[in-house]
């Protein structure tokens, strides 16, 4: 059973990074809610938090965020039906990202996009990121490779050699 002291220290250590994870993907208005629910789950399921909790917290935050956005879309749809008006637009995904990069990222599948962002924005190694999304390191590397090739095509830039990309991509523990 986790103690309040353990939880307090874990929250202080990691909440800013979890909040940044959410801010990179969703509007500011839901950041606090998502972070709160993420740490609530961490508190209730503390026996599942082993080793470095951050990748695990990212994985929880991803699911909480998806639920929140789904709920928000349902509410907006209901309002639109009640008012018989044109549906208000969904919350803008990836707020603050330039149109070109956003379009390229949104063209990826949700899984491939998350693979890229966990490494590029959260700075996880492929092995950490695999733990965050709950797949094997091999599967994760395949997603990352596929995503990089598609990004290279969409952004019109030349794909680089597997060994040529920055620290995060090649710094896996495996």
């Amino acid at each position: 059973m986790a103690t309040p002291e353990w939880f307090g220290v874990m929250f202080e250590r990691h909440h800013a990074q979890v909040a940044a994870y959410v801010r990179r993907r969703a509007p500011e208005s839901i950041v606090e809610d998502v972070v709160s629910e993420t740490f609530l789950i961490a508190w209730r399921a503390s026996e599942r938090v082993r080793g470095d909790p951050l990748p695990w917290l990212y994985g929880v935050a991803r699911r909480v965020l998806a639920n929140q956005l789904r709920g928000q879309r349902r509410r907006l749809g209901l309002v639109s039906r009640l008012r018989r008006e044109r549906s208000p637009s969904d919350p803008e995904p990836l707020p603050g990202v330039s149109e070109r990069i956003r379009a390229a990222l949104l063209a990826l599948s949700e899984r491939d996009r998350e693979a890229v962002l966990l490494v590029a924005w959260e700075g996880l190694t492929p092995n950490q990121a695999a733990a965050a999304v709950g797949c094997t390191a091999g599967t994760f590397r395949a997603r990352l490779y596929r995503a990089r090739r598609q990004l290279a095509r969409t952004l019109g830039s030349s794909p680089v050699a597997e060994t040529g990309t920055g620290v995060a991509l090649e710094a896996g523990e495996a």
Partner: protein, 426 residues
């Protein structure tokens, strides 16, 4: 120019540096999670978190509201109910004797403490409700300051409900203890606050309050019975806590505005010890970065630095009229307990002697160190401080007085105001 698409995505990171939530938000979230989960059923904690967030948003919206009736000339005889004390007990039976029933709160306390966030100015006003078996809940906000036309310095309100029985799932009726508080921190000239036509609360002095401030507290408690599967509703007659009129000793309204929200603050640079994700290689910080104020933790062996904020240029907030502090550096670290350390200056005239720490008493055998043990009874946190020239070096943490004195004694501090003033570990 690099053409790696991965680098393009990395460079497009919209949030290159994580930012910690303000201290009051962190405290509200952790307190709600650690305490409510054991006493509420189903999604109670999530709704409790959202209720707290809504109250905070409401406070933001109301921050610029003109306090109603400020220019009314009507004179009334000062009457109304006396303020409840800042800490007290509930009379509703707790119901906690039944196994698995969380029960009603047994007592409460209201605290006013300096805001330690780096760059912050003002006071935090919080309430705490205590239940059986050491559980507690509560919340509040920071940034309460006094300006020339401020009579109400801080407002806080909270409510909750807790099952008192029966736990029998076949029962068709459940009983809840409903409780709420309404708290005003006022300047010394406010004798009462009129919250609604039927609720006027006379203020009272209290030693924990800074600068001669007074407090008006109304506590409500009741038992509510609802059909199983429903939750008790909030009282429809609850007054709007911000539609308040401060009254002087003759019962006359005092013209007043609530202070602006967010309050003025010095720009602070946020830092964290672990490398920031997603922005390339960075070193792990082993000491907080330099700034106008510095807290040196290097004499404490085995600590883990978390994060903090430091002000780069101290200007002060001359428009303040009440005495309060400016936190020019804050460092959070782990040393058995989580410790929040800060350097507090006089907010209006940095460099002049800061106000005494309210309700703090000298620690016997440790000259120059004062301790304010009642700052947060629920979490066991207290404020311990020592002077560094015309500044306070303070820590807020749990543990015993001896632990706090030991931690504080190993910290060094520097204030760069009119030349550097540094104090080594005590």
């Amino acid at each position: 120019m690099r053409s790696d698409p991965f680098e393009l995505v990395r460079a497009a990171n919209p949030v290159p540096s994580p930012t910690a939530f303000p201290a009051d938000v962190r405290a509200r979230i952790t307190t709600a999670i650690v305490t409510h989960t054991r006493c509420e059923h189903g999604g109670g904690i999530v709704s409790a978190l959202r209720r707290a967030a809504r109250l905070r948003i409401f406070a933001l919206a109301a921050g610029v509201m003109v306090v109603a009736g400020g220019t009314t000339a009507a004179i009334a005889v000062l009457s109304g109910q006396p303020s409840a004390p800042p800490s007290g007990t509930f009379t509703v039976p707790t119901g906690a004797t039944q196994r698995g029933v969380p029960g009603a709160p047994t007592h409460y306390s209201i605290t006013a403490t300096p805001d330690l966030n780096g760059g912050a100015v003002g006071w935090c006003l919080q309430d705490h409700f205590y239940f059986a078996q050491g559980r507690y809940s509560g919340g509040g906000g920071c940034g309460h300051i006094q300006l020339a036309d401020t009579a109400i310095v801080g407002v806080n309100a909270g409510s909750g409900s807790s099952l008192i029985g029966p736990l029998d799932r076949r029962s068709s009726v459940l009983h809840y203890a409903s409780y709420s508080d309404l708290v005003y921190m006022t300047t010394a000239r406010v004798a009462a606050v009129r919250v609604s036509p039927t609720l006027t609360i006379r203020t009272r002095a209290d030693p924990q309050l800074p600068d001669g401030y007074r407090i008006a507290v109304a506590i409500h408690e009741s038992i509510t019975s609802v059909l199983a599967g429903q939750r008790p509703q909030r009282r429809s007659s609850s007054p709007n806590p911000f539609a308040v009129v401060p009254l002087d000793g003759a019962g006359r309204p005092i013209p007043s505005h609530l202070a602006p929200f967010p309050p003025p603050r010095e720009p602070g640079a946020f830092w964290q010890a672990q490398p920031t994700s997603g922005v390339g290689p960075q070193p792990t910080l082993h000491r907080p970065p330099a700034g106008a104020c510095e807290i040196d933790t290097s004499a404490l062996r085995g600590i883990e630095l978390f994060f903090g904020s430091v002000v780069q240029h101290i200007r002060g907030v001359p428009q303040l009229t009440g005495r309060t502090y400016l936190s020019c550096a804050e460092t959070q670290f782990g040393y058995r307990n989580g410790v929040d350390a800060a350097i507090l200056l006089d907010a209006q005239h940095p460099g002049s002697a800061p106000a005494p720490i309210p309700n703090a008493a000298p620690v016997p055998g440790h000259p120059g160190i004062v301790d304010e043990p009642a700052s947060d009874i629920g979490t066991g946190k207290a404020l311990t401080a020592r002077r560094v020239g015309n500044a306070w070096l303070v820590i807020e943490t749990g543990g015993t007085v001896a632990y706090r004195v030991n931690v504080l004694g190993h910290l060094a501090a520097c204030v760069h105001l009119h030349g550097a003033l540094c104090a080594p570990p005590a």
